[in-house]
């Protein structure tokens, strides 16, 4: 257990700080390593939980006197974490959630009903009585406890997301349906397994080359006694006419309602649009990001091309360019419904959900 007396006579508080820094460094190292194509070492749900737990520790242990200081500290840590792995957007999203929590708790402590007035709006432009810059300098005694309690609530919410989504499965999946999915998504797996308890249906999984995560998905589904078929990506369009619904997961939901999902998803979405098959996306709220799909440099992640063209093909390698992108962009027009832990929503409603989760001033960390 912990040492009470240190050889170099440090205060026990400094020990805790060193422990916190160690945890953050370990987390950052994990993030950096999780860049290979087979996906990060942990699922995005666990990343979100780990980030939130770390931020709670930072809130508890760091020295701050006002909400403004705390927000600066969180922003600093957030910038470091997002810089370690820019494609893992859940980290950034959790930082923004915590910042919004701090703003809300501060407003509540001040007793103002500013919760509704957080966003810029025409109404605010007309009625505000001064270029008031809210600088969060006031000190409140109970702010720390309130913020930590709110973060605990957030953690409970995160724990329950997969179950909340899976609970909605029976409304969307009916008997004798043929469902298509792409690659491997833990959320979709739980969703389908939950429906399989009461309904019999057939699942077609596109293997999603070159990482072929579809194989693992198919194995897991068949263990739950769901009739599964694995198809090659090239067969997606051919098979689509027999499919009733397409249910997919995603890595990120963008601010315009589009997706950043595993490569191959755009193909599935276009094939579904062609056959007028509904495309349902199962994505928990922590995947919602305030980014727009314009920054092509930060949008894509490329990994080692040896999955596409192995290094053994030595002769050709000097003559061709080989790319192995990990993500695909799916525009919002191709999506029918988003199923998240707070229920089902249309892609055109995403802007509203975003304004409830994040504050516009925090969008650029």
């Amino acid at each position: 257990m912990g040492q009470l007396v240190n050889s170099d006579n440090r205060m026990p508080g400094a020990d805790k700080e060193a422990d916190l820094t160690e945890r953050i460094e370990a987390f950052l190292a994990d993030l950096k390593r999780g860049g290979c194509g087979t996906g990060p070492i942990r699922g995005s749900g666990e990343t979100a939980r780990e980030t939130t737990a770390l931020l709670r520790k930072v809130t508890a242990q760091a020295r701050w006197s006002s909400a403004g200081d705390l927000m600066e500290i969180i922003r600093k840590e957030g910038r470091r974490m997002t810089a370690a792995q820019p494609s893992e957007t859940t980290v950034g999203n959790m930082v923004l959630r915590v910042l919004k929590i701090i703003r809300e708790e501060y407003a509540r402590s001040r007793g103002s009903s500013e919760e509704t007035d957080q966003q810029e709006s025409l109404h605010k432009l007309l009625t505000s009585g001064g270029l008031s810059e809210e600088n969060f300098r006031q000190h409140f005694v109970h702010l720390k406890a309130n913020v930590i309690e709110a973060i605990n609530e957030l953690l409970t919410e995160l724990d329950g997301t997969t179950d909340n989504i899976a609970m909605q499965a029976l409304e969307h999946i009916h008997s004798n349906e043929v469902i298509m999915t792409v690659g491997r998504s833990r959320t979709v797996e739980a969703f389908l397994k939950d429906a399989a308890r009461k309904r019999k249906f057939h699942v077609i999984v596109a293997e999603c080359a070159p990482f072929c995560q579809g194989h693992e998905m198919a194995t897991n589904l068949s263990k739950a006694s769901i009739e599964t078929t694995v198809i090659a990506d090239a067969a997606i369009f051919a098979v689509m006419s027999r499919v009733n619904k397409v249910i997919i997961g995603t890595q990120t939901v963008l601010a315009n309602g589009g997706l950043r999902a595993v490569n191959g998803t755009h193909t599935v979405a276009l094939a579904a649009r062609h056959h007028s098959t509904p495309l349902i996306v199962c994505a928990p709220m922590f995947k919602l990001s305030p980014q727009f799909p314009n920054e092509e440099d930060t949008f894509h992640k490329f990994v080692s091309p040896h999955e596409v063209l192995p290094f053994t093909e030595g002769e050709i390698l000097s003559k061709v360019n080989v790319h192995c992108p990990v993500f695909d962009y799916v525009p919002p027009e191709l999506i029918t419904l988003f199923i998240s832990n707070i229920g089902g929503n249309a892609p055109s409603y995403i802007y509203r959900l975003m304004s409830e989760l994040y504050h516009p001033e925090d969008h650029d960390l």
Partner: protein, 308 residues
């Protein structure tokens, strides 16, 4: 010292025209709001209801001078501003003081709106991009200036935009900041779209459905960009949001479609060419406003927050 007397129609129109002349960069809605604020200062009414009546009359006078959607939306916004403020303070003289203060503050804030829009939009313009724009819009010009200042290289195609060939002014302004620009015929939009990466237009008014009212030819451009799968971006300040819900081109009120003098002199409008058209929200990708980057469905939310 004698108090300045109440403004009559002539003075009102003269003040408005002077505002537009002294600062050609100012949006017509802003000039209208400034004029109405001055009118408010000089008004001698005793009741708030009387104040509203005279302001409505003043707005009507201004729309007779400049029949654009922007002036109308500026006027309505000002009236809403008066209503909201008068709800808080019942006493007229206190109310007027507060209105004058807030009015000045509002004008200050919206003078910054074009800068905010430019800050949001310029990141969507990538190095080497080819941009198509329509007619002359000061907001689009500001966005392109900001992108050029960020050392991005891009080329611009501007439509000549008959009947007033406003596109040529836009081209001159762009040449002055050393942006390579080509003026194309309005009919050449379909031809040029395959070369273009994105389309950015301004708006005279943003309607409740999320669609826009802009110079004639914008709808055409939007339909063609949809067919070519090119993003169609609209840049507009938030004071251009207007409480209209047109379902098609015929639904747009005649008083916006034609210039003010045409409305006064001509009896049969079916012979005249309209100056504006309506672009439905399904053709618009994103709207950049000083309230943030909005999808067309978010616009009605903003309007509801203000007016209801």
């Amino acid at each position: 010292m004698q108090q300045p007397s109440k403004m009559n129609e002539e003075e009102l129109v003269e003040y408005f025209r002077t505002q537009m002349r002294t600062d050609p960069d100012m949006a017509s809605a802003v000039a209208a709001i400034r004029t109405l604020l001055e009118f408010l200062r000089r008004d001698k009414g005793e009741t708030i209801l009387g104040l509203r009546e005279s302001l409505k009359w003043a707005t009507d006078c201004l729309t007779e001078v400049d029949s654009s959607v922007a002036v109308s939306s500026g006027g309505e916004l000002f009236l809403r501003f008066i209503s909201l403020t008068s709800l808080e303070h019942q006493d007229l003289s206190r109310c007027k003081k507060v209105m004058e203060e807030r009015g000045e503050l509002f004008l200050e804030k919206i003078s910054l709106s074009r800068t905010k829009v430019a800050k949001l939009c310029h990141t969507f313009i990538k190095d080497g991009a080819k941009i198509l724009t329509h007619s002359s819009s000061r907001v689009v010009l500001r966005v392109l200036e900001k992108a050029a200042a960020e050392k991005k290289r891009f080329t611009v195609y501007v439509t000549e935009s008959q009947p007033d060939t406003a596109g040529k002014q836009m081209a001159d302004a762009l040449r002055r900041i050393n942006v390579p620009v080509t003026v194309v015929l309005d009919a050449a939009v379909g031809y040029v779209l395959e070369k273009v990466d994105l389309v950015i237009v301004g708006a005279e008014g943003v309607v409740e459905s999320g669609g826009i009212i802009n110079k004639i030819g914008t709808y055409q451009m939007a339909v063609c960009s949809k067919a070519h799968n090119k993003p169609f971006y609209v840049v507009a300040e938030s004071f251009k949001f207007v409480r209209l819900y047109p379902l098609n081109q015929q639904d747009v009120p005649d008083r916006f479609k034609y210039k003010a003098d045409t409305l006064r002199t001509v009896s049969d409008l079916s012979d005249e060419h309209p100056m504006i058209d309506y672009t439905p929200p399904s053709l618009i990708t994103l709207l950049f406003t000083d309230l943030g980057v909005l999808t067309p469905s978010a616009v009605s939310d903003e309007l509801i927050k203000l007016y209801l």
